[in-house]
C-alpha cells in the first residue's frame, strides 16, 4: 500500500492507495504514527479500491485519537464498495463524508480554525 501526504487549504490530506484491509492496515498505522499531520486531517479514499472491517476499524481509531485532542478526521472520495462498508456498519454517521476533495479540505480548515 502506497500512502502519500499533501497539504490543501492548510490541511494535511492523506491518500492511501490500494486495498485497505487486515494485511495493509499496519502500513497505514505506521504512517500516521510517524508523520506530522495537522490536528484536523482529510483522509482521501479515492485510491482505496477495497476496505474491510480492519481498515474501517483503523479509520475509526484514527478519528477517536484526533477527536480526543480536539481535531478531527474528514473523509473524502470513497467509491461504492468502500461506502457500503461505512453504511452497513453504521459507522458513516460518525463522519463528515465528502465526494469532493477540495470541499473536504475546506470544511476541515474551517473546523480547525474554530478550535
Amino acid at each position: 500500500m502506497i500512502i502519500s501526504e499533501k497539504i490543501i487549504s492548510n490541511i494535511s490530506v492523506l491518500t492511501p492507495e490500494g486495498s485497505l484491509d487486515a494485511a495493509t492496515v499496519p502500513q497505514l498505522k505506521n504512517f500516521t504514527a510517524k508523520s506530522e499531520v495537522t490536528p484536523t486531517l482529510v483522509l482521501n479514499l479515492s485510491g482505496v479500491d477495497f476496505l474491510d472491517s480492519s481498515g474501517l476499524g483503523a479509520i475509526v481509531g484514527m478519528a477517536r485519537n484526533k477527536r480526543e485532542s480536539g481535531g478531527d478526521v474528514v473523509l473524502a472520495c470513497m467509491n461504492d464498495k468502500v461506502r457500503k462498508v461505512f453504511e452497513i456498519t453504521q459507522v458513516a454517521r460518525l463522519f463528515h463524508i465528502f465526494d469532493d476533495l477540495e470541499a473536504a479540505a475546506g470544511y476541515a480548515e474551517k473546523q480547525q480554525k474554530s478550535l
Binding site: 484491509d21 487486515a22 494485511a23 477495497f50 472491517s53 475509526v60 452497513i88 459507522v91
Partner: protein, 142 residues
C-alpha cells in the same frame, strides 16, 4: 461450480483469498447470465471471504504450526455458497453490532457478513471452525 483453494494461514495470502472470491462469484454470475447487481454480488463474496480468512489467520493457535485455511465454492441454482474452514480454537459467533459511539476498532467482521449474505452458519468440525455463507444472485440487495 465446485472450486476449492487451500491457502497458508498467513495474512499475505489475503489478496489471493479475496481475488479468488471475487472471480469465482463473477464466473458464477456469468453462467446465470445475470447482468444486474453483479458488482454488489461479487463484492459480498470478496468482503465476506476477506473477513473470514483474516479471522482464521488472526485467531489461529500460535502453537499449531503449518496451518491452512480452506475456501470452497459451490453453487445450487441461483445461489452461491462459500465455506471457510480453519484449525482454530472454537469461538462464540456473536453477530451484534458494537456500540458505534464508543469508536470501536474491531468487532465489525461477523456482523458485516450477516448483512452481506442471505444465510450464515457456524459449525465446529474436525478440530476447526467452518463458516458457511450463501447468497442468491437473483434476489436484490438486502
Amino acid at each position: 461450480m465446485n472450486t476449492t483453494i487451500i491457502l497458508p494461514a498467513e495474512m499475505r495470502y489475503l489478496r489471493l483469498a479475496t481475488i479468488t472470491a471475487w472471480t469465482a462469484a463473477e464466473i458464477f454470475t456469468d453462467t446465470l447470465e445475470i447482468k444486474e447487481g453483479v458488482h454488489d454480488f461479487c463484492h459480498a463474496f470478496e468482503l465476506s471471504v476477506c473477513e473470514t480468512f483474516s479471522n482464521s489467520v488472526r485467531y489461529a493457535d500460535p502453537a499449531n504450526e503449518e496451518k491452512n485455511v480452506t475456501i470452497c465454492f459451490s453453487s445450487c441454482n441461483d445461489s452461491l455458497t462459500v465455506s471457510v474452514s480453519d484449525t482454530n480454537p472454537p469461538f462464540d459467533p456473536v453477530t451484534s453490532l458494537p456500540d458505534i459511539n464508543s469508536y470501536p476498532e474491531k468487532g465489525f467482521g461477523l456482523f458485516m457478513i450477516h448483512q452481506l449474505m442471505d444465510e450464515v452458519t457456524y459449525t465446529r468440525e474436525k478440530g476447526g471452525n467452518l463458516i458457511t455463507m450463501t447468497k442468491s444472485a437473483g434476489k436484490h440487495e438486502k
